[in-house]
């Protein structure tokens, strides 16, 4: 397995009898991966993580009204985001198990194993974070259980509930070498599963590999996407040379003129140039992951493209890559907007959305 060691934790060997989980690097994708040395991936760990990801008892409760799992909000058919059509969370705005609104919008849970620049909208969860509780996906699992606006739980209770389910201890033994159920192991298993959520077979991927041609409209959109005099999306959102379709970096993209500086990149860096800066999300499956921007202010892709075309707002903190600010936006005409959206839709990966290995297990441990 090609693994980049990104944390200073002591390396941990895989348990005896476990099978290493090998991530095949798709064409054009990075070789370096964000896999902590103390959580090597195994087939058994991934399978355990998948069960936990879909198990509502992760909330630490067993009453049918009190169940909540990662998959309650992270829906596979919406690229593991809530999506604007969620039956419970209206317009894509989530709330916790006890009804407390989630103060941030969801981010796509896709190709995270290649994110080297921090998770969440401001990159708080990062290998660079001096606080060792905010380093990687494992820590996000803890946060999901504890956060009042998510599971509003208690890790001891979650651990106890999971440990009391007869099928789980044996799975923990296979994954980690003993039947002991701990919150750390729970988080490690879920993180292993999340790292397997890889999208690499959208129409554009097949185009990159020479397997499929784009339509004339999609090609025109691709040119707009990758040219400065067009829409210039690629500097922040990637393209042929960066098939993640994100830099995983943080930009003030001209949405506002006043910045409270409470949840943006500035909170972490203290650098005024990071005021109003948030992560550029991946555009893979983006048509399914509305609403858009860090606060969900745009409901549709069309609104987003309109914003970049005509709605940019100047501030001293706008990222220098936003050179179209001089004209208030890219000034794309309707046909160009249609082409651009046609191209962006080539990033929809049906295989990812329906891959049974990413879906719920046939049955959960009982």
């Amino acid at each position: 397995m090609l693994v980049s060691c990104t944390q200073e934790d002591d390396p941990v060997p895989i348990p005896a009898g476990a099978t290493p989980y090998v991530i095949e690097v798709p064409f054009g994708f990075p070789q370096k991966m964000n896999i902590p040395e103390n959580n090597p991936m195994t087939v058994e760990g991934v399978e355990l993580g998948r069960c936990l990801f879909y198990d509502g008892r992760m909330s630490g409760r067993t009453h049918p009204d009190s169940l909540m799992s990662c998959a309650t909000c992270h829906l596979q058919h919406n690229s593991f985001e809530c999506g604007i059509d969620h039956p419970v969370y209206e317009n894509g705005f989530t709330h916790g198990l006890t009804g407390i609104p989630t103060p941030h919008l969801m981010l796509p849970m896709i190709n995270l194993v290649w994110n080297m620049n921090g998770y969440l909208w401001n990159g708080k969860i990062s290998n660079d974070n001096p606080n060792t509780s905010f380093r990687n996906i494992e820590d996000l699992v803890w946060m999901g259980v504890l956060a009042p606006h998510e599971m509003n739980g208690d890790t001891n209770r979650t651990k106890a509930v999971i440990a009391a389910i007869p099928g789980y201890p044996e799975m923990f033994k296979k994954a980690f070498g003993s039947e002991e159920v701990t919150m750390k192991r729970i988080s490690m298993a879920v993180a292993q599963f999340v790292r397997t959520l890889i999208s690499y077979n959208a129409k554009f991927d097949r185009y990159m590999r020479g397997e499929e041609q784009l339509t004339a409209s999609e090609l025109s959109g691709f040119v707009l996407f990758t040219t400065e005099e067009g829409a210039d999306c690629f500097h922040c959102h990637g393209g042929f040379g960066n098939p993640l379709f994100t830099t995983n970096l943080f930009y003030n993209n001209g949405k506002d003129t006043v910045f409270p500086g409470t949840d943006d990149r500035y909170v972490l860096t203290g650098d005024p140039m990071d005021l109003g800066a948030y992560k550029a999300t991946t555009l893979r499956n983006i048509e399914l992951t509305g609403p858009y921007m860090h606060d969900g202010r745009f409901a549709t892709l069309e609104e987003v493209v309109d914003f970049y075309a005509h709605g940019l707002l100047w501030s001293p903190y706008i990222n220098p890559l936003m050179h179209h600010i001089a004209n208030g936006g890219t000034q794309l005409v309707p046909s160009e907007k249609a082409d651009l959206i046609a191209f962006i839709k080539t990033l929809r990966d049906e295989e990812f959305l329906s891959n049974t290995e990413f879906g719920p297990p046939e049955e959960l441990p009982e």
Partner: protein, 279 residues
């Protein structure tokens, strides 16, 4: 000793002699092989390390502050610089030494401290060198798309439609335009395009990489020692010699403006210098 025994003894002696000869030959071969395989030469090489610095108007660059005025009179700031240098060559009196091909492309990012130092892998022949030169950017042969798939180098990709490969440089900042509006500029250098006047389609590409001869860069490589070169980019010089580069004329984006990139690259000849050479 019995006659028969003597014969046997002679036989045994002959066998012993043969064995001795055989052993000697084997030993000789082993020794010779060992000598060839492990010549244990006296060390005759040293190492080189580059540290990258960024200056403006003769002083260390202050990022994110609009305090500079270029040769065209534009007030400007610099937010970040990312670039490649490659084909670094040390020029000697008798022979040149080029840092190992394909391993010699180095990426510098002003936001990533670890890129500001380049400890070159190569063992470099000891001796005096008269100077250093390098390619700014990446030459045509090496500048291939998907050559870098890992962050941060991969983020430098240059779109296929515009020629492919990688940016030579992204120098991003802002300037005060004629309307007193602080506008972003993306001084990006890479492969230029030739456009059909009628259709606007790209009909060809122009390689803009260029060679930089670093003035005052004579150095000595000592046996077993590391020579440190403090290489400095003088940012202001991108905009002034021999051409005065005016942001108001060229605007904020130049990847599709070959004339602007040509001006930038022609100004690049004296952008680099050395602060010091420690050896």
């Amino acid at each position: 000793m019995q006659p028969n025994d003597r014969g046997a003894c002679l036989n045994n002696d002959m066998k012993a002699n043969r064995l001795l000869i055989l052993l000697s030959i084997i030993l000789l071969i082993i020794t010779a092989c060992k000598k060839e395989a492990d010549p244990d030469p006296a060390p005759s090489s040293g190492k080189i390390c580059f540290e990258f610095h960024h200056y403006c108007d003769g002083l260390p660059l202050d990022f994110d502050i609009r305090k500079y005025v270029n040769a065209a009179g534009n007030e400007y700031m610099v937010n970040e610089i990312q670039y490649f240098i490659s084909d670094v060559t040390l020029h000697g009196a008798d022979a040149d030494y080029t840092i190992d091909a394909w391993k010699d492309i180095h990426y510098v990012d002003t936001d990533i401290a670890s890129t500001h130092e380049w400890k070159v892998f190569d063992e470099i022949p000891a001796g005096d060198y008269t100077g250093i030169s390098f390619t700014f950017g990446i030459n045509e042969e090496k500048n291939q798309s998907l050559m870098f798939t890992d962050h941060p180098e991969s983020l430098m990709f240059w779109p296929q439609y515009l020629g492919g490969g990688y940016h030579y440089m992204k120098l991003n900042g802002k300037w005060l335009d004629t309307n007193q509006f602080e506008r972003p500029y993306d001084f990006h250098l890479g492969i230029g395009q030739i456009y059909d006047q009628q259709s606007g389609e790209v009909t060809g590409f122009i390689q803009n990489y260029f060679e930089v001869e670093v003035p005052g860069s004579s150095l000595r490589i000592d046996v077993g020692e590391e020579t440190l070169i403090d290489l400095v980019m003088h940012v202001d010089r991108w905009f002034k010699n021999p051409h005065t580069y005016d942001h108001n004329y060229w605007g904020g984006d130049i990847m599709q403006k070959q004339d602007a990139m040509k001006v930038g690259c022609e100004n690049g000849w004296d952008v680099f210098g050395v602060l010091s050479v420690d050896f």
